[in-house]
């Protein structure tokens, strides 16, 4: 009982406390994660759009360079076969290539002779190479020639991003590249095209210039083929006869390819299948000549881990706070349960002690709460019980007195006398002593009662009792057997002969005149004696003997004591 209620209460309250703080913590944690991811999504989309703009401006710069070259007089002149113009153009190409490490090749390609290259400078591992003579190739079948030739002055052709498989292209060979071209217009119309080969890796580097390192870039063409992917083996799959599509890796991007949405963001928190441990933003970017309806899809990914770093540290502090609150709630619930159970235990203890020992233990009577009320009720109940019990005890004492004493004389009655005699016999036997029982019967009491009335009779009996008590030792017992019969128990009798003197004294005292209210009476008594152990060893035997002796005495003449003569 002691551990039961307190422990249960403590556990219950501690559990409520822990649960409440845990749930609050968890809610705060997950809400925070969602907020962080939302913010990251917005930032990432902005970054992707920024990337998009940066790509546009890079492409514009390339276009500006192409136009600059196409507008050089040397360009148109070279198309007519002017060797000097070709050399001048070569110097320009050389200078531009030196200034732009992202350019792999600069060429002037004729509109005639199956697209024969007229001036060509390639980048090589060692530096720049001018390609001349028989090594110049016919490029008429390449889109950057046949698509550019019909364009008007100032228009720009932008190729699809693909791997350059042109044989003998030096550093450009086998590299993912982007080709920018523009027509060169001479006196008799378009006579050549200027072609810039841009390395995708350099473009990528420009795009990623101030992106954090852990950001990953995706780029797909308008069919979804990956051109840039954090895993290079996933790019240009079509070039190896195996299409690897963005729509397959990120099905949500289908919306970008079917033009139902210009941008989208997915995150690993809501969509762990598509954006596994990532937040990815995608933006569709129109690309090249508007009538070709080309576009690329740019994607930027940020690891979810980075985004949630804040949430994780918050999570850790939440765990600490939850732990602290749990400990506090355990401590508080223990204290509370103690505060509640201690007064209850106090009451229980007081009740136990009161019922077993009638002890009045201190109670929390000063409290103003329910426990105080309970304590006061208990205290009131306890005092009531106490007073009831005192009354009962008194009554019991009185009843016991009445049961053992004669009401008229206040002397022990027959029952008490028997008890004392029994006790005395036991004592005498132990000490090997004598004791005597004296049976006193008043002579002429009947006459006094008849003549003078009961009141007088009673007065006589009271007086006799007083005289008998006065005549014996305090240790002796005087009792009234009823009517006019009294009996005495005398212990510690040295020898029977000493009794005669006592009997004489008694007889003399009882014979003396009694001054009653209106007159004096004289009453006598017959006394019979029996001795222990001579006359018996049980109360009944001793009393019987004394009675016999008394009758014998009475029949011999009054006022004499007589020992019962055995036989």
């Amino acid at each position: 009982m002691r551990s039961g209620l307190g422990v249960k209460l403590a556990i219950l309250m501690a559990a409520i406390g822990i649960l409440a703080s845990g749930l609050t913590g968890y809610y705060a944690y997950s809400k925070n994660r969602i907020m962080l991811v939302d913010a990251a999504q917005r930032n990432l989309l902005t970054s992707t759009q920024l990337l998009n703009r940066r790509m546009s401006s890079a492409l514009n710069e390339f276009a500006a360079d192409a136009l600059f070259m196409a507008n050089l007089p040397a360009a148109a002149k070279s198309a007519t076969g002017d060797a000097g113009a070709k050399t001048r153009l070569y110097y320009v190409f050389n200078a531009l290539l030196a200034a732009h490490p992202e350019y792999l090749q600069l060429r002037l390609i004729s509109a005639r002779q199956h697209g024969l290259e007229l001036v060509r400078v390639d980048r090589d591992q060692q530096g720049l190479v001018r390609v001349q003579g028989q090594r110049l190739q016919e490029k008429g079948t390449f889109p950057y020639v046949f698509e550019t030739l019909p364009l008007a002055t100032g228009q720009i052709y932008l190729s699809r991003i693909s791997i350059n498989h042109e044989y003998g292209a030096h550093a450009a060979e086998g590299q993912p590249t982007l080709v920018i071209a523009t027509p060169v217009v001479g006196p008799s119309g378009t006579c050549a095209v200027v072609v810039i080969n841009v390395e995708l890796a350099s473009l990528l580097k420009m795009l990623q210039a101030d992106l954090p390192n852990h950001f990953q870039l995706y780029l797909a063409n308008n069919w979804g083929d990956f051109l840039i992917h954090p895993d290079p083996s996933q790019t240009f799959g079509f070039d190896r006869g195996r299409r690897i599509l963005m729509q397959d890796s990120f099905p949500a991007t289908q919306a970008l390819f079917n033009h139902s949405s210009p941008s989208l963001v997915i995150n690993g928190l809501e969509d762990p299948v598509q954006a596994r441990d990532q937040v990815v933003a995608f933006v569709r970017k129109p690309y090249g000549q508007p009538e070709q309806k080309q576009f690329v899809v740019l994607g930027l990914a940020q690891p979810l881990r980075d985004v949630l770093t804040g949430a994780n540290s918050l999570g850790k502090s939440i765990v600490r706070i939850v732990l602290a609150f749990s400990i506090i709630s355990i401590a508080l619930s223990m204290l509370f349960s103690r505060a509640l159970t201690q007064p209850l235990n106090m009451l229980a203890h007081a009740a136990t002690r009161f019922s077993s020992e009638r002890a009045l233990e201190a109670l929390p009577l000063d409290r103003t709460d329910e426990i105080g009320i309970l304590a006061r009720c208990f205290d009131r109940m306890r005092s009531q019980i106490k007073s009831h019990m005192a009354t009962q005890y008194e009554t019991q004492q009185k009843l016991a007195y009445l049961a053992h004493h004669d009401q008229l004389t206040g002397l022990p009655n027959r029952m008490l006398f028997f008890q004392r005699l029994e006790l005395a016999i036991g004592n005498a036997r132990l000490r090997n002593e004598h004791l005597a029982v004296l049976f006193v019967d008043l002579d002429h009491f009947k006459e006094i009662n008849d003549q003078l009335g009961h009141v007088m009779g009673d007065q006589v009996l009271q007086m006799v009792a007083q005289r008998l008590q006065n005549m014996v030792r305090a240790s002796d017992t005087v009792a009234r057997l009823g009517g006019d019969e009294f009996i005495l128990l005398m212990e510690g009798i040295p020898e029977p002969s000493a009794l005669n003197a006592i009997i004489d004294k008694l007889a003399t005292s009882l014979n003396a005149v009694m001054a009653l209210e209106q007159q004096s009476v004289r009453i006598g008594a017959s006394i019979g004696i029996s001795l222990f152990p001579q006359d018996g060893d049980t109360p009944e035997a001793l009393i019987h003997h004394a009675d016999q002796a008394m009758y014998q005495r009475k029949s011999q003449g009054r006022h004499m004591a007589c020992f019962d003569q055995p036989g």
Partner: protein, 347 residues
């Protein structure tokens, strides 16, 4: 009460485990290696029900991947395989395949006579035994714009016709270009060219380059170029599959098998030497020739099947089934120079 509940759950688990385990243990598993579209889920399910077997399909997207899968784990991974007849020839020579019993393949009798004449198709028979059964094929004919041709072109030579300068599309492939050019030069063995034959073909391919608009890789790309540049004639590497794409894009196109003959690939089914249950494996091959299954291939993938005659493949049409090219590397090296624009004197 609790222990009673546990007992009930346990008993239920044991009973259901036995119930589930029995059919799985009893069923054979057929391991299929195929190209996407050759074993659609509903087709597989119907087979599983019919033959009370379990089928595991692995798809491949390229001949190289197929080759790797066939050689992985010492060629023990698959029971049946779908590959083109040229690949089958290699597998047969390597001893990776097991011969087939025609009596176990009654559906072969429903095939077109051309496909029942197995001896005429290289790669199906080895040492007098049948190792592969044709399943689907695609010819590489000529696609032409009906509006620019009053009469369908008859010969491959139309691609060199200067009237169609920059109106011709060619496919970017060293093997096929050398093969069909060899055919136009009247060379008998287009898959194994001598250095002299190759040199002749190379010069002719430079001439073709000067006549074509460009080379394509993907069918979508070809369609876009065809429509945008009003192309007159195209080497149809993807065969009749390209026609539907072109027609959807608004082109009015026709398809011919030139008189020199059209190259064609032929995909076949074969049973591997590692096949655990040969009856089940041959049941699969026979099932693939079921009119229902072969019909679905045409219906869903636009691929021709070997049971029904198609418009392009008349009985007299000359078909040159692809064979392994012997001089691949040499063709590849020359082709790189050709498409990069090297001039005739650099060869």
């Amino acid at each position: 009460m609790q222990t009673r509940l546990i007992h009930i759950i346990l008993r239920w688990l044991i009973v259901s485990a036995l119930f589930l385990a029995t059919p799985v243990c009893a069923m054979d598993t057929l391991r299929v290696l195929a190209w996407p579209g050759y074993a659609d889920p509903d087709v597989v399910r119907a087979f599983e029900q019919r033959y009370q077997a379990h089928v595991e399909v692995t798809f491949v997207g390229a001949d190289e991947v197929l080759w790797q899968q066939m050689h992985a784990e010492h060629g023990q991974l698959f029971d049946v395989v779908a590959a083109n007849s040229a690949e089958m020839q290699r597998y047969t020579r390597e001893g990776l395949l097991a011969p087939l019993e025609l009596s176990a393949l009654p559906n072969t009798r429903k095939q077109l006579p051309r496909f029942q004449a197995r001896a005429s198709i290289p790669g199906l028979i080895h040492d007098g035994r049948v190792y592969a059964i044709p399943y689907t094929y695609s010819t590489m004919g000529l696609i032409y714009d009906r509006r620019q041709f009053s009469q369908a072109p008859q010969s491959m030579n139309a691609m060199w016709d200067p009237r169609f300068r920059q109106k011709v599309l060619d496919f970017n492939s060293a093997e096929h270009n050398f093969s069909f050019t060899a055919l136009t030069l009247g060379i008998r063995a287009p898959f194994n060219l001598s250095p002299a034959q190759r040199a002749r073909a190379a010069q002719r391919l430079i001439a073709l380059r000067r006549n074509v608009l460009t080379y394509y890789n993907q069918p979508e790309e070809a369609t876009e170029l065809f429509v945008h540049h009003k192309v007159a004639l195209m080497f149809g590497n993807y065969g009749t599959q390209q026609l539907s794409l072109l027609r959807r894009a608004g082109a009015d196109v026709g398809y011919v098998i030139p008189k020199e003959g059209a190259l064609a690939w032929l995909d076949c089914w074969a049973m591997t030497r590692a096949a655990r249950n040969r009856v089940l494996a041959q049941n699969w091959i026979n099932y693939m020739l079921d009119p229902w299954v072969s019909g679905l291939l045409t219906q869903r993938q636009g691929l021709a099947n070997t049971l029904t005659a198609s418009t392009d493949l008349t009985p007299n049409a000359k078909i040159i089934w692809l064979e392994p090219v012997v001089d691949t590397a040499e063709r590849e090296a020359l082709w790189q120079k050709i498409i990069s624009g090297d001039r005739p004197r650099s060869f």
